[in-house]
Point group: C2
C-alpha cells in the first residue's frame, strides 16, 4: 500500500518506519511479553526506553549538560501557564508577538506576572518579523518569550535573537513546538525551550521542556507540583506517571532522526538540508504561479508550515477535493487565516512535496 501524504499541522504524519516498528512491537516489546503501554514506568524495561529517548534527544539536539530535559504533559498551551508559574517569580516578562501562538502565550502569562509586548508584527498581519534591534526590552524582565515558528501564520525565526547583545540578561524562552528537531538550536542564546511533540517528534500527549538548571527552583507557591520543573527534574520526569507510550514513540522518532543522512551531514543537520530542499521546492512553485500566493516575507518564511491562498478563492473547495483524490490530505488552512496550509514537517518525504507541487501546477493549468 502507498500511504497518502498527510499535510496536517499537528498531530501530524510520522515516519512510516516508526509506525511499522510500533505495530510489530505492540504485543511484545523486545521479548518482555508486554506492550510498552502495559509496563510500569518504574520497571527496568520502561526505564531503559526513557533513558535512551532522553540521551538520543540530547545527542541529536546537542543539548549541553547544564540543561535538563523534561517529558511533561499538557502541550504548548499548558506551558503558556507553566513557564510563568516556574520562572516569572511573579515579576515581569517581555513577549514578542509574531502570530497566534505567541499571542496566546502572552495572554495566559498575564495571570502570573506583569506582561509587556516588546515587539509585534501585527501591523504586517503577522507576515514579517520585527528586527530584534527594535524590541523594547525591560531591564528587570524575568524572561523574554518568543515563538520561533508560528504554525498558523507560517513565520519562522531563521536565527535566534541574542539577548545579551541587545543589553538584556533575561533568559530567552522559545516555543519551538512546530519546528523542534527540524534545525539546530544555538543553546548559548536560550534559557528554556518547550514544545508539544505532535508536530515533529511523536504523538500528542507529551511535551518536551529543555531548561537551564539555574532557572529551576523558583516556582510560585500556586504552581501544581506535577508542573513544577524542579520537582519534575528531581524525579526524572516520573513525579507523576509519565505518558509512557508517547515517550516510546518519540524515542523511536529520535532513532529515525539519528539514522538520517544527506551527503556528509547526519541527524538534525541532514534533516535541515532535507527540510530546506522541500521548502524551497514548494515556495518556488507558489512564487512562480499565477494562482497561488504566500504573503510572508521571504526572510522569515517557515520551513515547516506553508500557508497559501488561491487568488480565486471560489476554487478552494475544488482544490481540496482534487488534492484528496490524489492522496494529498489535510491541506485546508487554519480558520483564522483561511486558504490552504501545507505542513511539511520532518516526516514529510520530498516525494510528498513533489506530489503537491505537481498537483498545484496541474490544478492551475486546468483552471487557467
Amino acid at each position: 500500500m502507498i500511504r497518502p501524504f498527510n499535510f496536517s499541522a499537528g498531530p501530524a504524519n510520522l515516519p512510516e518506519e516508526v509506525l511499522r516498528q510500533a505495530a510489530a512491537e505492540m504485543l511484545d516489546w523486545h521479548g518482555s511479553g508486554m506492550s510498552v503501554m502495559e509496563m510500569s514506568h518504574r520497571g527496568k524495561e520502561f526505564i531503559s526506553i526513557y533513558e535512551h529517548a532522553e540521551a538520543d534527544f540530547r545527542e541529536l539536539m546537542a543539548i549541553p549538560e547544564h540543561f535538563k530535559i523534561l517529558f511533561m504533559q499538557g502541550g504548548g498551551l499548558a506551558e503558556n501557564a507553566i513557564v510563568p508559574l516556574n520562572i516569572s517569580r511573579g515579576g515581569s516578562a517581555d513577549f514578542v508577538v509574531t502570530g497566534s501562538w505567541s499571542d496566546k502565550s502572552q495572554k495566559e502569562a498575564r495571570k502570573y506576572c506583569d506582561v509587556q509586548i516588546a515587539a509585534t508584527n501585527e501591523s504586517s498581519a503577522h507576515t514579517s518579523l520585527p528586527p530584534p534591534a527594535t524590541w523594547q526590552l525591560r531591564r528587570d524582565a524575568s524572561y523574554v518569550h518568543v515563538c520561533t515558528n508560528e504554525t498558523i501564520h507560517g513565520v519562522e525565526f531563521q536565527e535566534l535573537p541574542d539577548l545579551k547583545a541587545l543589553g538584556s540578561d533575561a533568559p530567552l524562552v522559545i516555543d519551538f513546538s512546530s519546528h523542534v528537531a527540524s534545525r539546530p538550536v544555538d543553546w548559548s542564546k536560550v534559557g528554556l525551550a518547550f514544545g508539544g511533540a505532535q508536530k515533529n517528534l511523536g504523538p500528542a500527549g507529551v511535551t518536551l521542556v529543555v531548561v537551564r538548571e539555574d532557572l529551576l527552583g523558583h516556582a510560585l507557591a500556586v504552581c501544581p507540583s506535577a508542573f513544577n520543573y524542579k520537582t519534575v527534574a528531581d524525579n526524572d520526569s516520573m513525579y507523576n506517571t509519565p505518558p509512557t507510550y508517547a515517550i516510546y514513540i518519540a524515542g523511536l522518532t529520535f532513532q529515525w532522526l539519528k539514522r538520517q543522512k544527506e551527503g556528509e551531514a547526519t541527524g538534525i543537520a541532514a534533516m535541515e538540508k532535507h527540510n530546506l530542499a522541500k521548502a524551497e521546492l514548494l515556495y518556488d512553485a507558489i512564487d512562480h504561479s499565477g494562482l497561488y500566493i504566500n504573503k510572508v516575507s521571504k526572510d522569515c518564511r517557515s520551513r515547516m508550515n506553508v500557508p497559501f491562498l488561491l487568488r480565486d478563492e471560489s476554487r478552494n473547495e475544488d482544490f481540496l477535493a482534487g488534492a484528496k483524490a490524489r492522496g494529498l490530505l489535510q491541506l485546508k488552512g487554519h480558520k483564522s487565516v483561511g486558504g490552504m496550509r501545507a505542513s511539511i514537517y520532518n516526516a514529510m518525504p520530498l516525494a510528498g512535496v513533489e506530489a503537491l507541487v505537481s498537483y498545484l501546477q496541474e490544478f492551475e493549468q486546468k483552471h487557467a
Copy 2:
C-alpha cells in the same frame, strides 16, 4: 504465543484484543490512510473516535446528562491541584485520608484552600476505613475528598458515603483512578470523579474527569486555562491538543468492556462479577495459607490491588524469581509497604489469578 500475566499496579495490562486491534490499525485507521497518531484532532476521523469514546464511557458508567466527561492530561497527581484550583473557590476542603494517595491529595490541596482531615485510618496503618458516621465534616467545606481505592494499601470503599445523610451539602470528590470501570458508581452521591487511565482504561497520559455541571465556572484566577474545567468542557476537551492516541486506546477498551458478559449481566455489571470472582479466589488462597498474609480488614479489601506479605520475608526474592519464571510479572510490592502486590484490574483474566494461586500454593509447599 501465550502472553505472561502482568500484575503491574499501573501502567497495567490491557486486553489483548485491544492491543491486537491497535497493532492492525497502526498504519491505516479504517481506510483513512493515516495512523490515529497522525490525525488532526479537529478532523472528522478523530472527532468520530472521540465522540464514540465519550458516548461509550457515559453508557458504560451510566453517567447522567448533568455531568460533563473531560479527557485531560497530567494524571491523578495533577488533579490533586486541578481539583482545588477549580472547585475550592479558595475556601475549605475536607479530606478523608485512607492511604498514600489521599494523603498526597490533601497535601497538594493546601496550596489552594484550607484543608482539614475529616477522618483518617492512620492508626490502623491504613488497613481499615473510618466509618462515615465518625467523619468530622465542616458545614462550609467546598468539597469532601475521598480516594475510593487506595492502590498502595489495598483498601477500597465498597459503598460511597452519602454526604447528605451525614448533614453535608458539599460535593463529594472521588479519586477513582485505580478502580474506575471495575464496578458501578452511584452518581447521585458524587460531585466530581477523576482518574488516570493507566490502570483500568488505557495507556498513561489521559485522565478522565466526570464533573457535575454546577461545579464548572468557579476556577481560581491562577488556574491554568488548559486545566480549567469549564474551558475544557466548553471546548469538548480540545482547548489544547488532547492526547489523541491514548483516547483512541481508551475507546477500544470501552468497546471491549461493552462486549463483556457474565450470565445475564453485561458491561460494567459483568466486569464487576468477574472482578469479584478473581478477588475472592486470591484472598481465599492468601487467608488459607500459612505463608502469606493480607492485613486489610475484610470489609474494605480492594478488588483491584491485593498487597500481601510472606511471613518469612527472607524468601521474597526467591518468590519473585519463581513467579517471573512462570510468566507472573511485576508482583513486587510498593516500596512504602514492602512485600508483594497483585494488581488484578479489569484486563487480568481469571486464568491469570488461577495461575498466581497455583504458584502461591506450589511455593508454600516447596518451602514448608
